[in-house]
Symmetry: C2
Subunit: 198 residues, 2 copies
């Protein structure tokens, strides 16, 4: 028998479904909600339903947006000849922060991962291929440099290359500002392999 009132328990149950939230922190969060004013709680609840209702995928690049086409795809300033393929929306944010890239993106919303039962049909591979009309000259694979990201990049490149489009992969190497001493062997190997004349 639970000793908290049922509506409280139901809130705890919902909160403990959140990623990284156990039953103790779910309880702490539920108490937080009880301390909010009615308006504050209402604002919170509607932030959830509004995000659900209004956030969708850009019909071109599949990134999150509240428009039909996201600001990047809609911008006349972006170079439409290059598409950078990333796994998650947060990767777009990271790349935009670098201010280095001026092309378009494509968000896969996942990677191919047999272990997690994610096949090519579970990522936006089909949508990517559909974008490769005459305009696109280069596709940059910017999935993570781990086994799954690597396999996903390989899989997609094998589909794209036959279309006569250049496919590239982001460079591996020592992170800027880090220390050679702490780099792992695989990274060092890749850093040496990818060396360039200065």
């Amino acid at each position: 028998m639970s000793l908290y009132p049922a509506p409280f328990e139901r809130l705890v149950e919902q909160l403990s479904k959140l990623p990284g939230v156990g039953s103790k922190s779910a309880q702490r969060m539920a108490f937080y909600f009880l301390r909010l004013s009615d308006q504050e709680a209402e604002a919170f609840a509607s932030a959830i339903t509004e995000a659900k209702r209004r956030v969708r995928r850009c019909e071109k690049c599949q990134n999150l947006t509240d428009q039909e086409v996201c600001p990047i795809c809609a911008s006349p300033k972006r170079d439409k000849r290059v598409i950078c393929v990333v796994s998650e929306p947060r990767d777009v944010i990271a790349l935009e922060r670098s201010r280095e890239y001026n092309g378009l993106y494509h968000v896969l919303h996942g990677v191919i991962s047999p272990l997690r039962h994610m096949g090519p049909e579970d990522i936006t591979a089909r949508e990517l291929l559909a974008r490769l009309d005459g305009t696109v000259e280069e596709v940059i694979m910017a999935t993570n440099p781990d086994t799954e990201g690597e396999a996903t990049a390989m899989y997609l490149s094998r589909l794209i290359k036959p279309l006569g489009i250049k496919v590239t992969r982001i460079a591996y190497g020592i992170p800027v500002g880090s220390n050679l001493e702490f780099a792992d062997d695989a990274t060092l190997f890749r850093a040496l392999e990818g060396r360039r004349e200065i």
Copy 2:
């Protein structure tokens, strides 16, 4: 400039107000919401508003309830001559779990803490005093054994004792199943001081 759509950012902002949630985990949680079905998101949002709307304080013991009077206060089986004073609703749960106690409770919803600007008027001290009619014979102070819990117990006992009501404090000592070796000095001192003949 934020690159996530505004309704998504508003959700992240709300989530990062939760206790123990930083901006990174708030983002992860927001993505979790986007993956929910509309019904699931709706259920989550309404768990918040329902808990706010329906959970209130028992008009007697101030514990959380969705009734006017909580099940413990309403039960004819509980001993109405004893009130156990605790700081938080979770302490009631803990004490009920021990199945040792059959009296009533009083939830202070905090402790007196000058550092956190919590005075006697910020806890339910007034409501406790109002309950001390002729029926109550003993008040057990079960606030936490830390400085603030101690000070709160002392403060309340000074108000209650003059009414001719017995005031007791839960025992200090070595936790059952723990190891003497790891007990701190203060606990060991209290355990010795509170020794009983066997």
